[in-house]
Symmetry: C2
Subunit: 237 residues, 2 copies
DNA sequence: CGGTGCGTTGACATTTCTCAACTGTTGTGG
DNA sequence: CCACAACAGTTGAGAAATGTCAACGCACCG
């Protein structure tokens, strides 16, 4: 393998190692997987694949982003998912369907994808059982997270969802002015919780007025954890 | 293997073959997997496992049902999921965590579970690559279904969700009195769509008044598919 | 300095839920 | 076979939660 190819595959390995599916694999195996991959570049709005095409690969977003969508009978575009760096997609197409069940276009420019070629990868998959175990493990985990979020979303109020989220965050300090830093911009946090930024802001405002906490930019100081936990359990609003 | 054991393993194979994870496997492989399993019976409310226990197996519901739940710090029980026959659970515990991240209790009586023993199963998993491929495929598929539902839930109105659901159902007839049968009781359909039975009833009522459809028990006759599609696309309410 | 985008706040609209009453059906025990 | 309980489904009235639209301050960046 020439010098250039080596660099490319190192870059690919770098991306793969960050992927939940492969995070637990040894460097050696990662290198083998990298050898099954190609690096591809797209401009914004460029098509990666179309619904119905034969699926011979799956993909990992390295930079930029992609949109998965389907065209309805009436020509309307229904967006299924927007993917960002570090996420993989179309595994199901490769392992299950044999064709892409949706279309895919780049959203950012430049968008760089790692294309994991199905044929050599499946060889490796059959040979090295650690890959299969790692993928099954990571898929199961994502699945349980999603299931939890799904019924949380339909069962639990916005306030309780926010409270639960906060209580999962890493906390600094042990005595009542507990301090924590939001890892996301508030608008992204809102999106994650499936609420509007306005509602998020109002929840914080309400809790601030009640003396429950204090907000300073992206750091919160929590005075009353017990009440917050009660809210997380759906008791108060 | 004695006659009785044989019967049991046939029954187990029966259950496994219906499982999405294993649906695509050959009878031969299914039989091998069955050999890794035991059949277990529980009474309603009986505990299957507790949060934190070492996970040496995963399970498939054969009859009855189970509830997965977690106990919050305050002792409140938070239900994560209710599982019915044909569903598997705790794969993640086995493949990922090594312990159960939630507790599990039977809800029906009698509840029969197939326990897939981790140790022999993992052996098989490493030996026979078709198992790994089948599991990855089925997990990916469930994942994409869930992702779709998740953002549908936060993006799309109750009416649109119902319309989408109806349009996915098998339809009888091709010319405008399109007829379809609801496979679930209306209250279960409502739960599936994360709405209340009342809202469901009102949606049907509204559409009936608009001349869009006709309801007779669990069969619907749809007169205007175009409008229904428009509603599914979020255009009208 | 002006622009752009996040966060906040207010007023208002809307969707959906909750509670309650009523109907119709089904299944059961007398 | 009937009466009655139990439950799914429907309908109405009102309340609550959340979204929408609009305005504004404020920080950051060219």
């Amino acid at each position: 393998m020439d010098y250039h190819g080596n660099m490319v595959h190192l870059a690919i390995a770098e991306t793969l190692k960050r992927l939940p599916h492969f995070r637990t694999l040894s460097d050696d195996v990662i290198a083998q997987v990298s050898a099954c991959c190609r690096l591809r570049s797209y401009q914004a709005a460029e098509t990666v694949f179309m619904e119905g095409q034969a699926a011979k690969s799956f993909f990992v977003v390295r930079a930029g982003g992609v949109r998965l969508y389907r065209l309805s009978a009436t020509g309307r575009e229904q967006v299924l998912n927007n993917l960002r760096p570090g996420q993989s997609f179309a595994e199901a197409a490769l392992f299950n369907f044999g064709f892409f069940p949706a279309s895919c276009a780049a959203t950012g420019s430049p968008t760089e994808l790692v294309e994991v070629l199905g044929q050599p990868f499946m060889e490796l998959f059959k040979t090295d059982e650690t890959i299969a175990a790692a993928m099954v493990g990571s898929l199961c985990q994502r699945l349980s997270v999603l299931i939890e979020r799904l019924d949380e979303l339909s069962t639990v109020s916005a306030g309780a969802r926010l409270a639960r989220h906060l209580l999962k965050l890493p906390i600094e300090g042990t005595t009542p002015p507990l301090e924590l830093k939001l890892p996301l911009a508030k608008k992204d946090l809102a999106a994650h919780l499936s609420i509007t930024p306005e509602t998020l802001s109002r929840l914080f405002g309400r809790w601030r007025d009640r003396g429950l906490m204090e907000t300073a930019g992206s750091t919160l100081r929590i005075f009353d954890v017990n009440t917050l936990e009660a809210i997380a359990d759906g008791d108060g609003a």
